[in-house]
Every structure is written in C-alpha cells, then in structure tokens.
C-alpha cells in the first residue's frame, strides 16, 4: 500500500496539480498578451453594441473587470490575487446577465452537456473498441471493412462538419429529427413529466449521434492498431494453439489486453471530446456549456468565457485524475509491482 501511494498515487497527484497550474497560468497569461487595455476595450465594445447602460452600472462593471483581470498591483501580486479568487470559487459576475455569478450559470448549463457527453463517450468507447478488435481479428469480414472505412473517414473530419452533415441530412433533407434545442422552444423543463423527457431524448438523438460517430471512429482505429499488435503476441498464438475458442481469445486475451492502453487514451482525449461537445452544442443550439460560450462570444461576455475556460480546465483535469486512479483496477501489473 505504501508503495502504491509512493510510486503511483503521488506522481499522479503531482501531475494533476501541474495540469491545473499550467492551465490556469495559461488563462492568466492570455489576457496580458492582448495589445490593448482589456478593460477599456471590453467596455467600449459593450457600449458600441448600443444598449443604453447607465453610468453607475458601467462603473461597477469596470471594477468587476479590473478585479477579474486582476490588473491591480505588480504582475506577481496579480498572479497570486488571481489564484486567491479562484480558490474561493469566485469567478465574478456575468457581464451579459449582470450580476448573476458566472458559476451559477455554468452550473445550470453543465448538466445538459454532461448528460450528453458521458453516455456518448461511454457508448462510443464500448462499440468503437469492440468493433475495432473484431475487425482486426476477422480481417476478411466485408461488413467490418465497410465499418472501418466509415470510421476512418468520420474520424479524420472535424466535429463541426460531421454535425452539420447530420443536421442537414436528418432534419433538412429527411426531417425525422428536430434541428435545434434540447426541447421545443417555449417549453419549460419539467423533469417529472414523461412527455418532456421523451421530447428531450428525441432532441438529444442527433447531437449524441454526432459525438458517438466521431468517437467511434477514433476508438475503432486506435483499437484496431493495438489489437493487430496483440494478435501476434505469444500468449494469443499460444491460446490459439491450445484450441481455445475464438470468442474466449477475442475477449479474454486480445480485448482484455488491448483495452488497457485505451483507458489511458480515454483520459488523454477527454479534453478533445469536451471541446467537440461544445461545438456540437453550437450546431444543434443545445443548451449546454457550448451554447453558453457562443452566447458569451456574441455578447462579449468576457467573464463568462473566462469562467468557462477555468471550469473546463479544472473539470477535465479532475476527470483525468479520477481515471488515472481507477486504472490499477484494470491492470494487475500496476497493482502488484
């Protein structure tokens, strides 16, 4: 146990903290790279939108912004002040929906994103890996070869294009799915009504399909190349020589070993998958973090964008950390060093 803590846990905790420090530092540095005074640029941008804002509110915003950018004091002081506020969970008010705190709005949007992202991730991981292994074990199978080509094509194309294609095909040319939102406009979310949940699911099918499709391609290709190496490993050849059934070999010998690096890969692609989910939400006007982000971009809500960035970093880092901690459950070589 002590060995496990020292050799496995501590390096991972260090990596976790590094990740957060690097990410947060990047977000801290970025505004300082802007050639103009970000506060004034921000305010003039908001004014130019033409909304009549009363001077007191502008002043309040200016203070909030200066605070948010952490522009008082020397850079070092600013950096620590920035961290100080972060650790208190204070990301400031939204500029667009002043003064609702950014955290609260993100908190409301996050469940939509997660309810889509997590099942899609799990489903694509399972079927992608399954078919990937299958296709390298049965290289002659026609159907699997067709799936492989599809997987390769989808994998190489950006999320946005895949989403647009699905949208055009399935809600424009063949209108069988709703084209936008998580529920019809004007409905209020009511989680006790079966009716609502059904429409919610209906609205979620296309967005989820996009995520699953792209993810599927990635896992398929990755698994295929992993298994094609494992198939020639001695223990697989041995199991075949020993007459074990193909199914047992495929599951217990090939997949069981190939899946381990895929778990590691899962942690590594979380950030990318999350980014993909944001894009998909934009295409389908799905009310999650992605939609929050695009609204913030259009309305110049800087603090919201900052908040989303920071939350994303911490969220992804934590998810990766948790997956790292779970990894030894699957790999006895790490468990018993």
């Amino acid at each position: 146990m002590r060995k496990f803590v020292l050799r496995y846990l501590i390096p991972r905790i260090i990596q976790y903290l590094t990740l957060i420090v690097v990410g947060i530092t990047v977000t801290y540095v970025i505004p300082r790279l802007a050639p103009t005074d970000p506060v004034e640029a921000q305010i003039s941008r908001m004014m130019s939108l033409g909304s009549s804002v009363d001077p007191a509110a502008v002043e309040a915003m200016r203070t909030a912004l200066t605070d948010l950018y952490g522009l008082s004091g020397s850079p070092v002081e600013q950096y620590f002040a920035f961290w100080g506020r972060l650790l208190q969970g204070d990301l400031g008010p939204s500029l667009d929906n002043f003064p609702t705190p950014v955290s609260k709005m993100i908190g409301q949007a996050l469940p939509y994103t997660l309810r889509l992202l997590i099942p899609a991730l799990i489903i694509s991981f399972i079927i992608g890996n399954f078919f990937g292994a299958l296709s390298s074990y049965y290289p002659e199978n026609r159907a699997l070869n067709v799936i492989e080509v599809l997987g390769q094509v989808v994998r190489s194309i950006p999320y946005y294009i895949v989403a647009i294609v699905l949208l055009v095909v399935f809600s424009y040319f063949i209108p069988i799915f709703p084209s936008s939102g998580a529920y019809p406009l004007g409905t209020r979310p009511d989680w006790s009504s079966t009716q609502f949940i059904l429409t919610y699911l209906e609205h979620s099918i296309l967005p989820a399909a996009t995520l699953i499709l792209v993810g599927f391609g990635g896992w398929f290709v990755g698994m295929k190349s992993l298994t094609s190496n494992i198939i020639s490993e001695d223990y697989v050849v041995y199991a075949e020589t020993a007459g074990l059934s193909k199914n047992r070999i495929l599951v217990q010998y090939i997949m069981r070993n190939a899946i381990l690096p895929q778990f590691t890969a899962l942690a590594m692609v979380l950030g990318t998958v999350f980014s993909g989910a944001l894009i998909m939400e934009v295409v389908f006007s799905y009310p999650g973090i992605g939609s929050l982000a695009i609204r913030a971009i259009y309305s110049n809500d800087y603090s919201m964008i900052m908040g989303i960035t920071i939350y994303s970093i911490i969220g992804v880092a934590t998810a990766v950390f948790i997956m790292d901690l779970l990894y030894p459950l699957f790999d006895p070589r790490v468990r018993y060093q």
Binding site: P35, P158, I164, V168, M268, G271, T272, A293, I297
Partner: protein, 285 residues
C-alpha cells in the same frame, strides 16, 4: 523517387484514391490565382443562384460565386494547416528529442508540461484567446497560436521513440565510434523518428484546419479572409439552410471532407511505405 511513386500508384488503392481527391483540391488552389472575381468583394454576381454551368457551386446570398470564392478558401485553409504544422513540428521535435536524450529532471519537467497540454481542453482556451485577440487575428497569427498549442502529443511520441532508440545497441556502437550527439541524432535516430514526424504532421494539418473551421464558425477568426471555416460562418449568418440555399453549406462541407480524406489517405499510405519495417521488408529483410 519516381519509382516509389510508381510503386505506390500501382500497389496501393488508398494512394490512388488520395491522388484523385487531392488533384481536385490542387486544381482548385491553382485556379484561385486566376479567379475572375475578387473574394473580398460582394454582390458581383446575382445572389442565391443554385449550381449551374456558369456558377458550378451556385452563388451566395452575398452575391459571390461560391466556386471561385472556395478556391481561395481551400488555399488559405491549407496554408494555415501547413504553417501550423511547421511551427508545431519544430517545437515537438525539439522538445521530444531533448526530453528523450537528456532524461532526468529536464525530461520530467518537459513531459509534465507537455502532458498538461495534451489533456487540457483546448477549445475553451482558444476561444478565450481568440476572443481577446480578435482585432489582430489574421490567418498567420491564428496559425502561430495553433502551432503553439498543437505540439504536445507528438512531442510525447517522439520522446518515447528516442528513449527506446537510445537503449538500442547501435546507438552505443555509434557512441564508441566517436560519433557526436548531433550526428547520432541525424544518422541513427532520425530515420526512425521521421515516420512519426510525418504521421503527426498529417494529424496536425487536419487538426488545425478543423480548429480554424470551429473558431470561424464561432465568429472568432478574421472573417474577411476566405477559408473553409468562414465559408460556413457566412452561410450560417445568412441562415442558408432556412433560406433554402443548401449549396452554400454543402459545398464547403464536401470540399472539407474531400480535403481531409485525401490528406488522410495520402499520409497513411506514404507512412506505411516509409515505416522502417516496410523498408526492411522491401530491401528483403
């Protein structure tokens, strides 16, 4: 070199398809230098015309000929992809080789940073960055930014390859032949690292073009430059689908898909060809 091309054409279906797809793309790029229309001008042709002989891809709601406009878009997107790939290749090769060679704390530090870049959700960070730099966000700057963010995974791959090469006997043979570190890298290791650099270049080009599309769609890039991304942005702005101008969305999406697929196939087939294992098989090992 010609023989290699001939062999690839003759024996690799993927390569043939890639050549066909990419020829189309190359022709478009060449045509852009001869365009009858200036892509920055609007309302030069009647708007919202469906595809016809005169306007192969139709015209947009902004009165632009979509085909000729897209020739510029493809050129610019590819330019962005290549610049990004070059910048990030330089960083990843430097970081990968250094970390792999020097080992110790340098390796640990570099890898901790690079792992962080691998895992971080890039899109929100890029949104933040583009948001703040929107005024000065031209194509080159975007390429530089993407380059600065796109090196990490490949650095990791290169490092692990160098680590294993360093342990192989022929590296030691070179050391005791008095060969300097520089020449060991160039002569002993580069032939093994090159396929990785090559394969990752593709991924990086595709990734950066995709990122540009994403950022443009969000309205975060220089919207006056024609790219595959800004094509989609303007189409969205004008509600192309709702208005029935479906070709405005379809054409850039299809061209993007062709470009991506073509590059992907090209690189996988060449990559298999330059893989040391294939080379060994060919020289009869």
């Amino acid at each position: 070199m010609l023989r290699v091309l001939r062999d690839l054409l003759r024996y690799d279906g993927r390569f043939r398809l890639a050549v066909v797809l990419l020829s189309g793309v190359v022709i478009m790029i060449l045509l852009s230098f001869n365009s009858p229309y200036d892509p920055s001008k609007t309302f030069e042709v009647p708007w919202d015309l469906p595809p016809s002989w005169e306007h192969p891809f139709g015209t947009t709601s902004r009165g632009q000929d979509l085909f000729w406009w897209l020739t510029f878009a493809v050129r610019n997107s590819l330019y962005l992809g290549i610049v990004t790939a070059i910048i990030s290749r330089v960083i990843s090769v430097l970081v990968g080789l250094t970390a792999g060679y020097r080992g110790g704390w340098i390796d640990r530090t570099l890898m901790a940073i690079s792992d962080s870049f691998v895992v971080l959700p890039l899109l929100p960070i890029l949104i933040l960055l583009s948001f703040l730099l929107r005024e000065s966000m031209n194509l080159l700057n975007l390429a530089i930014i993407l380059g600065l963010f796109g090196w990490s995974f490949d650095a990791r791959l290169i490092r692990s390859q160098v680590l294993s090469l360093r342990e192989r006997s022929f590296t030691r043979t070179a050391v005791y032949s008095g060969t300097s570190v520089f020449w060991i890298t160039m002569r002993e290791h580069l032939p093994f690292v090159l396929p990785i650099v090559f394969a990752t270049t593709l991924n990086n080009v595709l990734w950066s073009i995709g990122m540009e599309v994403t950022l443009s769609v969000l309205g975060l890039s220089d919207l006056t430059t024609p790219t595959l991304g800004t094509a989609l942005f303007w189409a969205n702005q004008h509600g192309a689908l709702v208005a029935g101008v479906w070709w405005w969305i379809t054409a850039p999406a299809v061209i993007t898909a062709i470009l991506f697929l073509g590059l992907y196939l090209l690189f996988t087939s060449i990559n298999e060809f330059i893989d040391p294992r294939t080379r060994l098989r060919l020289i009869g090992g």
